[in-house]
Protein backbone atom coordinates (compact mmCIF):
# COMPACT_ATOMS: atom_id res chain seq x y z
CA UNK A 1 0.00 0.00 0.00
CA UNK A 2 1.83 3.12 -1.25
CA UNK A 3 0.86 6.39 0.39
CA UNK A 4 1.66 9.86 -0.91
CA UNK A 5 1.34 12.27 2.00
CA UNK A 6 1.38 16.06 1.77
CA UNK A 7 1.39 18.82 4.36
CA UNK A 8 1.05 22.59 4.09
CA UNK A 9 -0.46 23.36 7.51
CA UNK A 10 2.28 25.77 8.53
CA UNK A 11 4.97 27.83 6.85
CA UNK A 12 6.77 24.52 6.20
CA UNK A 13 5.63 22.15 3.48
CA UNK A 14 6.45 18.54 2.80
CA UNK A 15 5.62 15.51 0.72
CA UNK A 16 6.48 11.88 1.43
CA UNK A 17 5.94 8.47 -0.13
CA UNK A 18 5.77 5.51 2.19
CA UNK A 19 4.48 1.96 2.39
CA UNK A 20 4.34 -0.60 5.21
CA UNK A 21 7.97 -1.55 4.69
CA UNK A 22 9.73 1.72 4.22
CA UNK A 23 9.80 5.43 3.74
CA UNK A 24 10.65 5.73 0.04
CA UNK A 25 11.31 9.42 0.10
CA UNK A 26 10.45 12.77 1.60
CA UNK A 27 10.89 16.40 0.62
CA UNK A 28 10.63 19.00 3.35
CA UNK A 29 11.22 22.74 3.25
CA UNK A 30 10.76 25.31 5.96
CA UNK A 31 11.02 28.47 3.99
CA UNK A 32 8.53 31.24 3.43
CA UNK A 33 7.52 29.70 0.15
CA UNK A 34 4.29 29.92 -1.70
CA UNK A 35 2.73 26.53 -1.04
CA UNK A 36 0.32 26.93 -3.95
CA UNK A 37 3.29 27.25 -6.26
CA UNK A 38 5.59 24.66 -4.72
CA UNK A 39 3.58 21.81 -3.21
CA UNK A 40 2.93 20.15 -6.55
CA UNK A 41 6.52 20.81 -7.60
CA UNK A 42 7.67 18.94 -4.49
CA UNK A 43 5.40 15.99 -5.27
CA UNK A 44 6.60 15.93 -8.87
CA UNK A 45 10.25 16.03 -7.90
CA UNK A 46 9.74 13.30 -5.28
CA UNK A 47 8.03 11.00 -7.79
CA UNK A 48 10.72 11.67 -10.39
CA UNK A 49 13.49 10.97 -7.90
CA UNK A 50 11.86 7.68 -7.07
CA UNK A 51 11.17 6.84 -10.74
CA UNK A 52 7.55 6.48 -9.75
CA UNK A 53 4.34 7.43 -11.49
CA UNK A 54 1.47 8.92 -9.52
CA UNK A 55 -0.62 6.00 -10.79
CA UNK A 56 1.34 3.71 -8.45
CA UNK A 57 0.01 5.56 -5.40
CA UNK A 58 -2.80 3.72 -3.60
CA UNK A 59 -4.00 6.51 -1.31
CA UNK A 60 -3.33 10.18 -0.69
CA UNK A 61 -2.76 11.34 2.88
CA UNK A 62 -3.05 14.97 3.87
CA UNK A 63 -2.67 16.92 7.11
CA UNK A 64 -6.06 18.56 7.53
CA UNK A 65 -5.29 20.89 10.39
CA UNK A 66 -5.47 22.71 12.52
CA UNK A 67 -3.18 25.23 10.90
CA UNK A 68 -3.11 28.05 8.38
CA UNK A 69 -6.54 28.14 6.71
CA UNK A 70 -5.03 28.90 3.32
CA UNK A 71 -2.31 26.27 3.71
CA UNK A 72 -4.86 23.62 4.66
CA UNK A 73 -6.99 24.44 1.64
CA UNK A 74 -4.01 24.27 -0.71
CA UNK A 75 -3.10 20.82 0.62
CA UNK A 76 -6.70 19.55 0.62
CA UNK A 77 -7.43 20.95 -2.85
CA UNK A 78 -4.26 19.27 -4.11
CA UNK A 79 -5.22 15.94 -2.52
CA UNK A 80 -8.74 16.24 -3.95
CA UNK A 81 -7.38 16.93 -7.44
CA UNK A 82 -5.17 13.84 -7.21
CA UNK A 83 -7.99 11.71 -5.80
CA UNK A 84 -10.50 12.71 -8.51
CA UNK A 85 -8.03 12.11 -11.35
CA UNK A 86 -6.74 8.82 -9.95
CA UNK A 87 -10.00 7.62 -8.37
CA UNK A 88 -8.15 6.87 -5.14
CA UNK A 89 -9.05 7.49 -1.49
CA UNK A 90 -7.85 10.29 0.79
CA UNK A 91 -6.80 9.80 4.40
CA UNK A 92 -6.88 12.94 6.53
CA UNK A 93 -4.47 13.22 9.43
CA UNK A 94 -4.61 15.78 12.23
CA UNK A 95 -1.61 18.09 12.01
CA UNK A 96 -1.27 17.81 15.80
CA UNK A 97 -1.29 13.99 15.59
CA UNK A 98 1.30 14.20 12.84
CA UNK A 99 3.60 16.26 15.06
CA UNK A 100 3.08 14.10 18.16
CA UNK A 101 3.64 10.93 16.17
CA UNK A 102 7.24 11.93 15.44
CA UNK A 103 8.12 11.47 19.10
CA UNK A 104 8.85 7.84 19.87
CA UNK A 105 10.23 5.92 22.88
CA UNK A 106 9.37 8.80 25.16
CA UNK A 107 7.14 8.17 28.15
CA UNK A 108 6.48 11.78 29.15
CA UNK A 109 3.92 14.23 27.75
CA UNK A 110 4.03 15.48 24.17
CA UNK A 111 2.52 18.87 23.37
CA UNK A 112 2.41 20.09 19.77
CA UNK A 113 1.55 23.79 19.50
CA UNK A 114 0.58 25.59 16.30
CA UNK A 115 0.33 29.35 16.04
CA UNK A 116 -3.34 30.33 16.02
CA UNK A 117 -2.68 34.11 16.26
CA UNK A 118 -4.68 36.21 18.77
CA UNK A 119 -2.51 35.02 21.71
CA UNK A 120 -3.70 31.44 21.10
CA UNK A 121 -2.27 28.11 20.02
CA UNK A 122 -3.94 25.14 18.41
CA UNK A 123 -2.87 22.32 20.65
CA UNK A 124 -3.59 18.98 22.31
CA UNK A 125 -1.70 16.92 24.85
CA UNK A 126 -0.46 13.38 24.15
CA UNK A 127 1.29 10.55 25.90
CA UNK A 128 2.73 7.31 24.54
CA UNK A 129 1.49 4.17 26.19
CA UNK A 130 3.56 1.34 24.81
CA UNK A 131 3.37 1.96 21.07
CA UNK A 132 0.11 3.85 21.12
CA UNK A 133 -0.24 7.58 21.11
CA UNK A 134 -2.96 8.55 23.59
CA UNK A 135 -4.63 11.94 23.49
CA UNK A 136 -4.86 13.24 27.07
CA UNK A 137 -6.29 16.69 26.31
CA UNK A 138 -8.46 17.33 23.24
CA UNK A 139 -7.58 19.51 20.25
CA UNK A 140 -8.61 23.12 20.45
CA UNK A 141 -7.61 26.76 20.09
CA UNK A 142 -6.36 27.76 23.53
CA UNK A 143 -5.28 31.03 25.08
CA UNK A 144 -1.57 30.54 25.84
CA UNK A 145 -1.89 31.50 29.54
CA UNK A 146 -4.90 29.29 30.15
CA UNK A 147 -3.26 26.42 28.24
CA UNK A 148 -0.08 26.69 30.33
CA UNK A 149 -2.22 26.42 33.49
CA UNK A 150 -4.09 23.44 32.10
CA UNK A 151 -0.83 21.70 31.17
CA UNK A 152 0.64 22.32 34.61
CA UNK A 153 -2.44 20.81 36.22
CA UNK A 154 -2.35 17.74 33.99
CA UNK A 155 1.37 17.05 33.83
CA UNK A 156 2.08 16.75 37.52
CA UNK A 157 5.81 16.25 37.84
CA UNK A 158 6.24 14.82 34.32
CA UNK A 159 8.10 16.55 31.53
CA UNK A 160 6.28 18.07 28.55
CA UNK A 161 7.99 18.05 25.19
CA UNK A 162 6.92 20.98 23.00
CA UNK A 163 7.02 20.96 19.22
CA UNK A 164 5.22 22.70 16.37
CA UNK A 165 5.61 26.05 14.62
CA UNK A 166 4.42 28.03 17.65
CA UNK A 167 7.49 26.94 19.64
CA UNK A 168 9.33 29.69 17.78
CA UNK A 169 7.03 32.34 19.21
CA UNK A 170 5.79 30.81 22.45
CA UNK A 171 8.27 28.23 23.79
CA UNK A 172 9.76 30.95 26.02
CA UNK A 173 6.30 31.64 27.36
CA UNK A 174 5.61 27.99 28.17
CA UNK A 175 9.05 27.38 29.65
CA UNK A 176 8.56 30.35 31.99
CA UNK A 177 5.14 29.08 33.04
CA UNK A 178 6.41 25.48 33.32
CA UNK A 179 10.12 25.85 34.20
CA UNK A 180 10.54 22.30 35.50
CA UNK A 181 8.38 20.59 32.90
CA UNK A 182 8.87 22.27 29.51
CA UNK A 183 11.32 20.78 27.03
CA UNK A 184 11.86 21.74 23.40
CA UNK A 185 11.91 19.04 20.72
CA UNK A 186 14.92 18.87 18.44
CA UNK A 187 14.70 21.01 15.33
CA UNK A 188 14.29 18.12 12.89
CA UNK A 189 10.84 17.25 14.26
CA UNK A 190 9.68 20.69 15.32
CA UNK A 191 7.60 21.22 12.18
CA UNK A 192 5.02 18.80 10.71
CA UNK A 193 6.61 16.23 8.40
CA UNK A 194 4.63 14.40 5.75
CA UNK A 195 6.36 11.09 6.52
CA UNK A 196 4.62 10.95 9.91
CA UNK A 197 1.29 11.75 8.28
CA UNK A 198 1.93 8.84 5.89
CA UNK A 199 2.74 6.57 8.79
CA UNK A 200 -0.49 7.50 10.62
CA UNK A 201 -2.44 7.10 7.35
CA UNK A 202 -1.20 3.51 6.98
CA UNK A 203 -2.62 2.75 10.44
CA UNK A 204 -5.90 4.51 9.62
CA UNK A 205 -6.34 2.49 6.44
CA UNK A 206 -6.14 -0.71 8.50
CA UNK A 207 -9.02 0.48 10.66
CA UNK A 208 -11.02 1.76 7.69
CA UNK A 209 -10.74 5.47 8.57
CA UNK A 210 -10.63 6.40 4.91
CA UNK A 211 -12.25 9.29 3.07
CA UNK A 212 -12.41 10.49 -0.53
CA UNK A 213 -12.29 13.66 -2.61
CA UNK A 214 -15.86 14.48 -1.58
CA UNK A 215 -15.65 14.01 2.17
CA UNK A 216 -12.10 15.05 3.10
CA UNK A 217 -12.15 18.57 4.54
CA UNK A 218 -9.93 20.72 6.75
CA UNK A 219 -10.44 20.79 10.50
CA UNK A 220 -10.35 24.57 10.87
CA UNK A 221 -11.37 24.44 14.56
CA UNK A 222 -12.44 28.07 14.19
CA UNK A 223 -15.40 29.51 12.31
CA UNK A 224 -14.73 32.20 9.71
CA UNK A 225 -14.40 35.59 11.44
CA UNK A 226 -17.54 36.93 9.78
CA UNK A 227 -19.56 34.00 11.09
CA UNK A 228 -18.14 34.44 14.60
CA UNK A 229 -19.10 38.12 14.51
CA UNK A 230 -22.69 37.24 13.66
CA UNK A 231 -22.79 34.66 16.45
CA UNK A 232 -21.50 37.17 19.00
CA UNK A 233 -24.18 39.62 17.93
CA UNK A 234 -27.00 37.10 18.42
Amino acid sequence: MKILAIDASTIAASAAIMDEDKLHGEIFTDYKLKHSEKLLVMVDSLLKNLRMDIGEIDAFAVCNGPGSFTGLRIALATAKGFAIAQKKPIVTVSTLDCLAHSVYCYDQFICPILDAQRHQVYSALYKREKENLIKILEEGAYDIDAWAQELKKTAGSSKILFLGDATLRYFEHFSQALPEEARLAMASIRMPRACYAASIALEKIKTGEVQDAFTAMPNYIRLPQAEENIKTKD
Binding site: S36, I74, A75, T78, F82, A83, Y220
Partner: protein
Protein backbone atom coordinates in the same frame (compact mmCIF):
# COMPACT_ATOMS: atom_id res chain seq x y z
CA UNK B 1 -9.62 16.73 -36.89
CA UNK B 2 -10.34 15.41 -33.42
CA UNK B 3 -12.26 17.95 -31.34
CA UNK B 4 -10.38 19.55 -28.43
CA UNK B 5 -12.22 19.26 -25.13
CA UNK B 6 -11.13 21.48 -22.29
CA UNK B 7 -12.27 21.18 -18.69
CA UNK B 8 -12.46 24.69 -17.19
CA UNK B 9 -12.46 25.61 -13.51
CA UNK B 10 -13.45 29.00 -12.10
CA UNK B 11 -13.34 30.02 -8.40
CA UNK B 12 -12.21 33.65 -8.47
CA UNK B 13 -15.11 34.98 -6.40
CA UNK B 14 -18.25 33.29 -5.11
CA UNK B 15 -19.25 30.99 -7.97
CA UNK B 16 -17.83 27.47 -8.00
CA UNK B 17 -17.96 26.43 -11.62
CA UNK B 18 -16.66 23.61 -13.81
CA UNK B 19 -17.40 23.12 -17.51
CA UNK B 20 -16.33 21.09 -20.51
CA UNK B 21 -16.11 23.07 -23.74
CA UNK B 22 -15.39 21.71 -27.21
CA UNK B 23 -13.18 23.71 -29.57
CA UNK B 24 -13.69 26.87 -27.53
CA UNK B 25 -17.25 27.29 -28.74
CA UNK B 26 -19.53 24.48 -27.74
CA UNK B 27 -20.48 23.78 -24.13
CA UNK B 28 -20.72 20.02 -23.63
CA UNK B 29 -21.44 20.19 -19.93
CA UNK B 30 -21.34 22.85 -17.24
CA UNK B 31 -22.29 23.51 -13.65
CA UNK B 32 -22.29 26.76 -11.72
CA UNK B 33 -22.80 26.47 -8.00
CA UNK B 34 -23.61 29.95 -6.76
CA UNK B 35 -22.91 30.90 -3.17
CA UNK B 36 -25.12 34.01 -3.30
CA UNK B 37 -27.52 32.65 -0.68
CA UNK B 38 -24.64 31.87 1.69
CA UNK B 39 -23.17 35.38 1.45
CA UNK B 40 -26.48 37.25 1.50
CA UNK B 41 -26.62 37.61 5.27
CA UNK B 42 -23.20 39.28 5.28
CA UNK B 43 -24.22 41.83 2.64
CA UNK B 44 -21.40 40.79 0.33
CA UNK B 45 -18.91 38.07 -0.45
CA UNK B 46 -16.88 36.97 2.59
CA UNK B 47 -13.58 35.66 1.15
CA UNK B 48 -12.93 33.06 3.87
CA UNK B 49 -16.44 31.62 3.52
CA UNK B 50 -16.18 31.60 -0.28
CA UNK B 51 -12.85 29.72 -0.07
CA UNK B 52 -14.25 27.11 2.30
CA UNK B 53 -17.22 26.50 0.04
CA UNK B 54 -15.12 26.24 -3.12
CA UNK B 55 -13.04 23.51 -1.51
CA UNK B 56 -16.13 21.56 -0.52
CA UNK B 57 -17.95 21.99 -3.83
CA UNK B 58 -15.22 21.48 -6.45
CA UNK B 59 -15.12 17.65 -6.49
CA UNK B 60 -18.93 17.44 -6.62
CA UNK B 61 -19.19 19.95 -9.44
CA UNK B 62 -16.38 18.22 -11.38
CA UNK B 63 -17.99 14.83 -11.03
CA UNK B 64 -21.42 16.15 -12.03
CA UNK B 65 -19.98 17.77 -15.17
CA UNK B 66 -18.13 14.59 -16.21
CA UNK B 67 -21.01 12.23 -15.42
CA UNK B 68 -23.47 14.44 -17.24
CA UNK B 69 -21.77 13.46 -20.52
CA UNK B 70 -20.62 10.04 -19.29
CA UNK B 71 -17.07 11.26 -19.69
CA UNK B 72 -13.93 10.69 -17.64
CA UNK B 73 -10.68 12.65 -17.45
CA UNK B 74 -9.45 10.42 -20.31
CA UNK B 75 -11.82 12.28 -22.64
CA UNK B 76 -10.38 15.66 -21.66
CA UNK B 77 -7.51 17.27 -23.60
CA UNK B 78 -6.51 19.98 -21.11
CA UNK B 79 -7.47 21.51 -17.76
CA UNK B 80 -7.96 25.30 -17.65
CA UNK B 81 -8.20 27.40 -14.51
CA UNK B 82 -8.62 31.05 -13.59
CA UNK B 83 -5.41 32.17 -11.89
CA UNK B 84 -6.30 35.84 -11.46
CA UNK B 85 -7.42 38.46 -10.90
CA UNK B 86 -9.83 37.76 -8.04
CA UNK B 87 -10.00 36.95 -4.33
CA UNK B 88 -6.66 35.32 -3.67
CA UNK B 89 -7.94 32.72 -1.18
CA UNK B 90 -10.72 31.71 -3.54
CA UNK B 91 -8.38 31.57 -6.54
CA UNK B 92 -5.91 29.40 -4.61
CA UNK B 93 -8.48 26.67 -4.06
CA UNK B 94 -9.37 26.34 -7.73
CA UNK B 95 -5.74 26.70 -8.79
CA UNK B 96 -4.35 24.06 -6.39
CA UNK B 97 -7.15 21.70 -7.32
CA UNK B 98 -6.74 22.23 -11.07
CA UNK B 99 -2.96 21.83 -10.91
CA UNK B 100 -3.28 18.49 -9.07
CA UNK B 101 -6.10 17.31 -11.32
CA UNK B 102 -4.17 18.10 -14.50
CA UNK B 103 -0.98 16.60 -13.10
CA UNK B 104 -2.54 13.34 -11.92
CA UNK B 105 -4.59 12.98 -15.12
CA UNK B 106 -1.48 13.74 -17.18
CA UNK B 107 -3.13 16.62 -19.08
CA UNK B 108 -1.76 20.03 -19.96
CA UNK B 109 -2.67 22.88 -17.59
CA UNK B 110 -3.72 26.28 -18.93
CA UNK B 111 -3.89 29.27 -16.58
CA UNK B 112 -6.50 31.77 -17.79
CA UNK B 113 -6.83 35.48 -17.02
CA UNK B 114 -10.34 36.05 -15.68
CA UNK B 115 -11.07 39.05 -17.93
CA UNK B 116 -9.96 37.12 -21.01
CA UNK B 117 -12.48 34.51 -19.89
CA UNK B 118 -15.25 37.10 -19.76
CA UNK B 119 -14.43 38.19 -23.30
CA UNK B 120 -14.59 34.55 -24.45
CA UNK B 121 -18.08 34.15 -22.97
CA UNK B 122 -19.22 35.70 -26.25
CA UNK B 123 -17.61 32.89 -28.29
CA UNK B 124 -19.90 30.42 -26.58
CA UNK B 125 -23.01 32.20 -27.79
CA UNK B 126 -22.04 33.81 -31.09
CA UNK B 127 -20.38 31.44 -33.56
CA UNK B 128 -19.71 34.23 -36.05
CA UNK B 129 -17.80 36.44 -33.58
CA UNK B 130 -14.08 36.51 -34.36
CA UNK B 131 -11.30 39.00 -33.61
CA UNK B 132 -10.68 41.81 -34.16
CA UNK B 133 -13.35 43.46 -32.02
CA UNK B 134 -13.81 45.75 -29.04
CA UNK B 135 -14.87 44.36 -25.69
CA UNK B 136 -16.37 46.00 -22.62
CA UNK B 137 -16.01 43.82 -19.54
CA UNK B 138 -18.05 45.32 -16.75
CA UNK B 139 -18.63 43.58 -13.43
CA UNK B 140 -18.30 43.90 -9.66
CA UNK B 141 -14.54 43.64 -9.93
CA UNK B 142 -13.73 45.01 -13.37
CA UNK B 143 -14.57 47.78 -15.81
CA UNK B 144 -12.32 47.57 -18.85
CA UNK B 145 -12.42 48.40 -22.52
CA UNK B 146 -10.27 45.98 -24.46
CA UNK B 147 -9.13 45.65 -28.02
CA UNK B 148 -9.16 41.99 -28.99
CA UNK B 149 -6.71 41.99 -31.90
CA UNK B 150 -6.45 38.23 -32.00
CA UNK B 151 -7.77 35.55 -29.67
CA UNK B 152 -4.65 35.68 -27.52
CA UNK B 153 -3.53 39.20 -28.30
CA UNK B 154 -5.68 41.47 -26.18
CA UNK B 155 -4.83 45.05 -25.26
CA UNK B 156 -6.51 47.06 -22.48
CA UNK B 157 -7.48 50.47 -23.88
CA UNK B 158 -8.94 51.73 -20.62
CA UNK B 159 -9.99 50.59 -17.18
CA UNK B 160 -11.37 51.95 -13.97
CA UNK B 161 -8.96 53.97 -11.88
CA UNK B 162 -11.01 53.39 -8.70
CA UNK B 163 -14.30 51.50 -8.26
CA UNK B 164 -15.62 48.99 -10.77
CA UNK B 165 -19.09 49.78 -12.11
CA UNK B 166 -20.60 46.81 -10.29
CA UNK B 167 -18.96 47.94 -7.06
CA UNK B 168 -20.68 51.33 -7.39
CA UNK B 169 -23.97 49.51 -8.00
CA UNK B 170 -23.50 47.37 -4.89
CA UNK B 171 -22.61 50.29 -2.64
CA UNK B 172 -25.51 52.44 -3.82
CA UNK B 173 -27.85 49.46 -3.44
CA UNK B 174 -26.65 48.83 0.11
CA UNK B 175 -27.23 52.48 1.04
CA UNK B 176 -30.73 52.27 -0.41
CA UNK B 177 -31.31 49.19 1.74
CA UNK B 178 -31.61 46.72 -1.14
CA UNK B 179 -30.67 43.10 -0.47
CA UNK B 180 -27.37 41.69 -1.80
CA UNK B 181 -26.60 41.40 -4.69
CA UNK B 182 -27.76 44.95 -5.23
CA UNK B 183 -27.14 45.42 -8.96
CA UNK B 184 -30.23 43.53 -10.15
CA UNK B 185 -32.33 45.35 -7.52
CA UNK B 186 -31.28 48.77 -8.84
CA UNK B 187 -32.01 47.55 -12.36
CA UNK B 188 -35.49 46.52 -11.24
CA UNK B 189 -36.41 49.66 -9.26
CA UNK B 190 -34.86 52.00 -11.83
CA UNK B 191 -37.55 50.93 -14.28
CA UNK B 192 -40.13 52.60 -12.04
CA UNK B 193 -38.06 55.76 -11.47
CA UNK B 194 -37.29 58.98 -13.32
CA UNK B 195 -33.91 58.97 -15.04
CA UNK B 196 -33.47 62.72 -14.77
CA UNK B 197 -34.87 63.19 -11.27
CA UNK B 198 -31.43 63.91 -9.82
CA UNK B 199 -28.50 65.26 -11.77
CA UNK B 200 -25.60 63.00 -10.80
CA UNK B 201 -22.15 63.65 -12.33
CA UNK B 202 -20.91 61.88 -15.46
CA UNK B 203 -17.19 61.59 -14.79
CA UNK B 204 -15.39 61.32 -18.11
CA UNK B 205 -11.84 62.14 -16.88
CA UNK B 206 -10.03 63.75 -19.81
CA UNK B 207 -11.80 63.96 -23.14
CA UNK B 208 -9.56 61.43 -24.85
CA UNK B 209 -9.29 59.02 -21.94
CA UNK B 210 -10.81 55.56 -22.09
CA UNK B 211 -10.35 55.10 -18.35
CA UNK B 212 -13.27 55.12 -15.95
CA UNK B 213 -13.84 56.58 -12.51
CA UNK B 214 -16.98 55.68 -10.59
CA UNK B 215 -16.06 56.61 -7.03
CA UNK B 216 -17.13 60.23 -7.60
CA UNK B 217 -20.54 59.15 -8.85
CA UNK B 218 -20.89 56.72 -5.95
CA UNK B 219 -20.00 59.46 -3.43
CA UNK B 220 -22.42 61.89 -5.08
CA UNK B 221 -25.25 59.39 -4.67
CA UNK B 222 -24.33 58.61 -1.07
CA UNK B 223 -24.02 62.34 -0.27
CA UNK B 224 -27.40 62.98 -1.85
CA UNK B 225 -29.02 60.27 0.27
CA UNK B 226 -27.34 61.51 3.45
CA UNK B 227 -28.20 65.14 2.87
CA UNK B 228 -31.83 64.26 2.21
CA UNK B 229 -31.88 62.27 5.44
CA UNK B 230 -30.35 65.22 7.32
CA UNK B 231 -33.06 67.48 5.99
CA UNK B 232 -35.64 64.87 6.92
CA UNK B 233 -36.80 64.82 3.33
CA UNK B 234 -38.06 61.62 1.85
CA UNK B 235 -36.01 60.03 -0.90
CA UNK B 236 -37.52 58.11 -3.74
CA UNK B 237 -35.33 54.97 -4.10
CA UNK B 238 -36.51 54.25 -7.63
CA UNK B 239 -35.66 57.81 -8.74
CA UNK B 240 -32.23 57.55 -7.11
CA UNK B 241 -31.71 54.16 -8.78
CA UNK B 242 -32.78 55.41 -12.21
CA UNK B 243 -30.74 58.62 -12.03
CA UNK B 244 -27.62 56.86 -10.71
CA UNK B 245 -27.88 54.12 -13.30
CA UNK B 246 -28.38 56.54 -16.17
CA UNK B 247 -25.32 58.55 -15.16
CA UNK B 248 -23.20 55.40 -14.98
CA UNK B 249 -24.47 54.02 -18.28
CA UNK B 250 -23.98 57.39 -20.02
CA UNK B 251 -20.29 57.07 -19.17
CA UNK B 252 -20.04 53.43 -20.28
CA UNK B 253 -21.71 54.19 -23.62
CA UNK B 254 -19.66 57.33 -24.25
CA UNK B 255 -16.37 55.52 -23.59
CA UNK B 256 -17.26 52.52 -25.75
CA UNK B 257 -18.27 54.91 -28.53
CA UNK B 258 -14.99 56.79 -28.15
CA UNK B 259 -13.02 53.52 -28.27
CA UNK B 260 -14.84 52.53 -31.46
CA UNK B 261 -14.00 55.86 -33.07
CA UNK B 262 -10.38 55.71 -31.95
CA UNK B 263 -9.77 52.18 -33.20
CA UNK B 264 -12.15 52.15 -36.13
CA UNK B 265 -13.66 48.91 -34.80
CA UNK B 266 -17.34 48.42 -35.40
CA UNK B 267 -17.85 45.15 -33.59
CA UNK B 268 -18.46 45.38 -29.85
CA UNK B 269 -18.86 42.50 -27.39
CA UNK B 270 -20.06 43.04 -23.82
CA UNK B 271 -19.69 40.73 -20.86
CA UNK B 272 -19.32 40.66 -17.08
CA UNK B 273 -22.08 40.72 -14.46
CA UNK B 274 -23.19 44.30 -15.18
CA UNK B 275 -23.69 43.39 -18.86
CA UNK B 276 -26.84 41.59 -17.75
CA UNK B 277 -28.31 44.96 -16.69
CA UNK B 278 -31.41 45.59 -18.82
CA UNK B 279 -30.89 49.33 -19.20
CA UNK B 280 -27.26 48.93 -20.27
CA UNK B 281 -28.30 46.38 -22.89
CA UNK B 282 -31.03 48.70 -24.12
CA UNK B 283 -28.74 51.74 -24.33
CA UNK B 284 -25.92 49.83 -26.03
CA UNK B 285 -28.37 48.42 -28.55
CA UNK B 286 -29.70 51.93 -29.30
CA UNK B 287 -26.19 53.26 -29.76
CA UNK B 288 -25.17 50.33 -31.95
CA UNK B 289 -28.14 50.86 -34.20
CA UNK B 290 -27.55 54.59 -34.48
CA UNK B 291 -23.83 54.27 -35.15
CA UNK B 292 -23.86 51.09 -37.20
CA UNK B 293 -22.01 48.92 -34.68
CA UNK B 294 -22.51 45.18 -34.46
CA UNK B 295 -23.25 44.41 -30.82
CA UNK B 296 -22.89 41.12 -28.97
CA UNK B 297 -24.09 40.52 -25.41
CA UNK B 298 -24.54 36.99 -24.11
CA UNK B 299 -27.54 36.17 -21.92
CA UNK B 300 -27.23 36.87 -18.22
CA UNK B 301 -25.86 33.50 -17.14
CA UNK B 302 -22.82 33.91 -19.40
CA UNK B 303 -22.28 37.48 -18.22
CA UNK B 304 -21.63 36.37 -14.64
CA UNK B 305 -18.65 34.22 -13.66
CA UNK B 306 -18.63 30.73 -15.15
CA UNK B 307 -16.09 28.08 -16.05
CA UNK B 308 -17.25 27.63 -19.65
CA UNK B 309 -15.81 31.02 -20.57
CA UNK B 310 -12.49 30.02 -18.98
CA UNK B 311 -12.40 26.82 -21.05
CA UNK B 312 -13.41 28.81 -24.15
CA UNK B 313 -10.47 31.18 -23.88
CA UNK B 314 -8.13 28.34 -22.93
CA UNK B 315 -8.85 26.63 -26.26
CA UNK B 316 -7.14 29.45 -28.14
CA UNK B 317 -4.18 29.39 -25.77
CA UNK B 318 -4.04 25.62 -26.32
CA UNK B 319 -3.95 26.08 -30.10
CA UNK B 320 -0.98 28.42 -29.70
CA UNK B 321 0.77 26.00 -27.34
CA UNK B 322 0.54 28.39 -24.40
CA UNK B 323 0.39 25.89 -21.56
CA UNK B 324 1.29 26.66 -17.95
CA UNK B 325 3.88 24.78 -15.90
CA UNK B 326 3.42 23.31 -12.43
CA UNK B 327 4.79 26.50 -10.85
CA UNK B 328 1.59 28.36 -11.82
CA UNK B 329 0.36 30.48 -8.92
CA UNK B 330 -2.71 32.58 -8.18
CA UNK B 331 -2.26 36.33 -8.62
CA UNK B 332 -4.95 38.53 -7.01
CA UNK B 333 -4.20 41.57 -9.18
CA UNK B 334 -2.99 39.82 -12.31
CA UNK B 335 -2.26 42.32 -15.11
CA UNK B 336 -3.73 41.60 -18.53
Amino acid sequence: MKPVRILGIETSCDETSVAIVENGRKILSEKISSQIEIHKKYGGVVPEIASRNHLHLLPFVTQAVLEDKKMSMDDIDAVAVTYGPGLVGALLVGLSYAKALAYAANKPLIGVHHIKGHIAANYLRFAELKPPFLSLVVSGGHTSILFVKEYCDIVALGKTIDDAAGEAYDKVARTLGYAYPGGPMIDKYAREGKKNAIDFPRIMLSEASLDFSFSGLKSAVLNYINSMKMKNEEICPSDVSASFQEALIDVLCAKVDLAAQKTGQKTIALSGGVASNSRLRERMAEMAQKKGYTLYIPEARYCTDNAAMIAAHAYYEYLEGNCSDIYLNAVASLPL
